[in-house]
Symmetry: C3
Subunit: 357 residues, 3 copies
């Protein structure tokens, strides 16, 4: 599987949390590109190819000099557009001396990077991730940097929540999820899996969140946006109070957020958050929910990590190439189909560009 087949390049990918990028040099690998990220004095973020034009030393081993980056080996300086502005011991700067600069945008508390053709980097194409803004919804997430699996395995995981029954038994998973049917819809660039579990006993996690006795209607409405963002609208409300018809006032509503960024063909960065729109000022609850997801191996996403990395290792070792699919995979299959369409379009565009030259 080559890099060009595994992920579209002409897309925005989360590269860092905004708060992580300051007046230090931060290295990341995004879609196979090594980049160095930093914040300029005017507050804007910048991203350069993380290899000096001269001798390839990672620029992230150098240091900031104002808004520019100075290489830590021979002192070449590059501005945030990637142009070399200083060479040691010579007055004339080779006009071709530059490193690649990557389009960046900050939105929804994340820094998004466009690894493909800069001319196509339209900020309007940044995925809708407003649940992460910290306003209407609150929560504190984190990142699995260098998660050892193909980013699409994370998508598979989140688009099919029947796995909760088996991977997360005892917290958010129970047999009901598997027993109840779901439906999948899609648009040109989204796929949505919807499951309503009517009149059920809430699983332990949601019973605690609801804080009231009684049977509930539980929903899972998971939307994939190409190529790798997922928002899962989840919650429970007391049965008979109208949640399926749109009245969630007698319930609690959360959303799991995932921006999954390919690092290489078999590693990715998984930016996650779990947000809610109730008890928004309860910092202790925020912390509790964070630890429920990631907590030194004991959180539900820690459980997923073990499964995802074991699955990737099995794929690497197994010559049996195609997966076999079940009904439960319908959501994931649509997500993958949309990714494949992007990849095909990107290849066709590349061909068209070559033909036009």
């Amino acid at each position: 599987m080559s890099a060009t087949e595994a992920f579209p390049l002409n897309s925005w990918y989360a590269a860092a949390w905004s708060h992580e990028i300051g007046r230090e040099l931060s290295a990341r690998t995004v879609c196979g590109k090594n980049v160095v990220l930093y914040r300029r004095t005017d507050g804007e973020v910048a991203a350069l190819e993380d290899a000096c034009w001269h001798r390839l030393l990672p620029l992230s081993l150098g240091h900031l000099k104002g808004d520019d980056v100075m290489c830590g080996y021979h002192g070449l300086v590059f501005n945030s557009a990637g142009r070399c502005t200083y060479m040691p011991a010579q007055k004339t700067i080779n006009p071709s001396a530059c490193v690649r600069a990557y389009p960046l945008a900050e939105r929804h508390r994340l820094v998004w990077l466009w690894p493909g053709d800069p001319a196509l980097a339209d900020p309007a194409k940044i995925p809708d991730f407003h649940w992460n803004d910290g306003t209407e919804w609150v929560g504190e997430g984190g990142t699995f940097y260098q998660l050892k699996c193909d980013y699409r395995l994370v998508i598979d995981n989140l688009m099919d929540l029947t796995h909760e029954t088996y991977v997360h038994a005892g917290s958010i998973g129970d047999e009901t999820i598997t027993a109840v049917p779901f439906e999948v819809t899609h648009t040109r660039d989204t796929a949505t899996m919807t499951r309503w579990m009517i009149d059920i006993d809430p699983p332990p996690y949601w019973a605690r969140q609801l804080g009231r006795p009684g049977r509930v209607d539980r929903w899972q409405i998971v939307t994939f946006q190409t190529p790798s963002v997922i928002v899962g609208d989840v919650g429970v409300a007391l049965t008979g109070t109208g949640a399926p018809q749109g009245d969630r006032s007698q319930g609690v509503n959360g959303a799991f957020l995932a921006a999954i960024t390919p690092a290489t063909d078999t590693t990715c960065h998984y930016f996650w958050n779990f947000v809610r729109n109730y008890r928004k000022d309860d910092a202790e609850l925020t912390r509790e929910l964070q630890l429920a997801h990631v907590n030194a191996g004991a959180g539900v996403y820690d459980q997923d990590q073990r499964v995802l990395e074991a699955q990737q290792a099995a794929i690497d070792n197994n010559p049996r190439s195609p997966f076999y699919d079940l009904n439960i995979d319908a959501g994931a299959l649509w997500a993958r189909r949309l990714i494949d369409q992007m990849l095909a379009a990107e290849r066709a565009g590349a061909v068209a560009n070559v033909a036009a030259e």
Copy 2:
């Protein structure tokens, strides 16, 4: 060197000690196949391909559900024949949904697995390893799992005991072994190296076992059974009491036992034991003999491990392909020749099967 060239598949290989397989899932790699082993409620052992039909997650990360294995990701269940008996969220089970089940047999305190064509898995072909039964002979061995060498290097090692002089100087090795000639005989599926050292001073180890002063006759009769089991009949008896003619009553007799199972082309599992037919109730002696062989790096097999793994590393790094042989290699060479004949027959059979289709 491809897997098909390195080891015959249509053979029984030790996969575990019987006592290791219970109501837990145990993962092993045997001849390049990842398998999960467990014991059913009726006491029978079972072995399945260690990769779920659906998404390849190792089944060994799941758990037992009665006599079946449930995958830890999406809950698919497979019975001990490998057939899927449950799929989440769907009533119809794809009739082709199954994982491979491997023929198993328990004998001589070991679990033997047949990685090749199940139709050929005849229990009568299990190697004769009755010395390991714990009845006529006693001893407690162990396993070097994932020993980092080609299984044939262990065979080379055990079929040529002159290495004792150099690797195990001071315990079982002395110059006499090297000085005395040996003979090698063979059948269609065995090779035997026989050495008698007549009227010698016993080396320290055997002097202790004999517990009587005096010169001895020492014997080493090492028999290889294809493809990878070795039994070494060893001992000493007072000189002149008729041991070479068959009367071992004035001596002590032990046997080193080895069942060597290829894991990959360059790793193997080495099931070993050292048994004796004297002082059989002496538990302290049993423990002492076990520690003489493997003891946190200080036992004689620990010494062999260092040599074998260094030898494999040297082979990996050295483009000089053929070994040079000495007279002492005659036993090992016959063992390898018999293995090569099995491999040739297996390839010819594969070709014949194709032709017959």
Copy 3:
């Protein structure tokens, strides 16, 4: 990049410090060859191929038997010329049984090894490294064994001292180095970079060495000898006292010494020393200068190590094959050109030898 392209084989390379080789077996990898080094009873050093003729076990795992090496597996013995002198259990020794013996020479407190054609191993070709003798100049260096970079990256590093400004700011590096021009000259087998900084404020390190106030003339005269030895004549003298004209009496003079030995294509051994011809009896100063260079990560060579290994990792990951060059690279480029000429001559010689047969 294959081994034959990366480094000439018909050259002397430092393999060890003399004091490191005694009556123990020492393993080294030099130009892709695994060798075992030891000192004979007559005080001469010897080097053999580190793989037994019989079964490839590293001879360095065996032990010395007088002036010979006994293999730790089956006891074969090889004399210091590489000829097998003992085989277990057989009287006739295969006349072809030998391992390769490498020409060695001890000079300048180092053991030099010739990995190529022994017939060409002329001791007159050992590089001039007399600064390391411990007589006229004093200093205690060390070795970066298995430095994780192509040996030529170390040459690049030392032939262009502008890097001091950026890598070693605050000790030996300052902006003056970069500002002042230099010149490069060369012969058939040397390249020399000369830089004089006239009437400058000495950087902190040299101010301390000089021990007198005042402005100085500073020199850096770095000479490369093919294929991988560098001597850097460096120092400062009070301005106006005639140093540029040859009178260094009012200054302090040191020399950095480097013998860089390829281990593999991407690793090397870097034998270094920093010597001086002033305050030669001051053991505390000797120790201080040693720690200034290598000191648990805090010395100037430790800083270089980080840069060199990061550069090699970047090269390994970066498909952009050619380096871009600056004016400052003139010295390194000449050194590499001389190496390339040696490589071309070696290849031509190999072709001529084949033709002559």
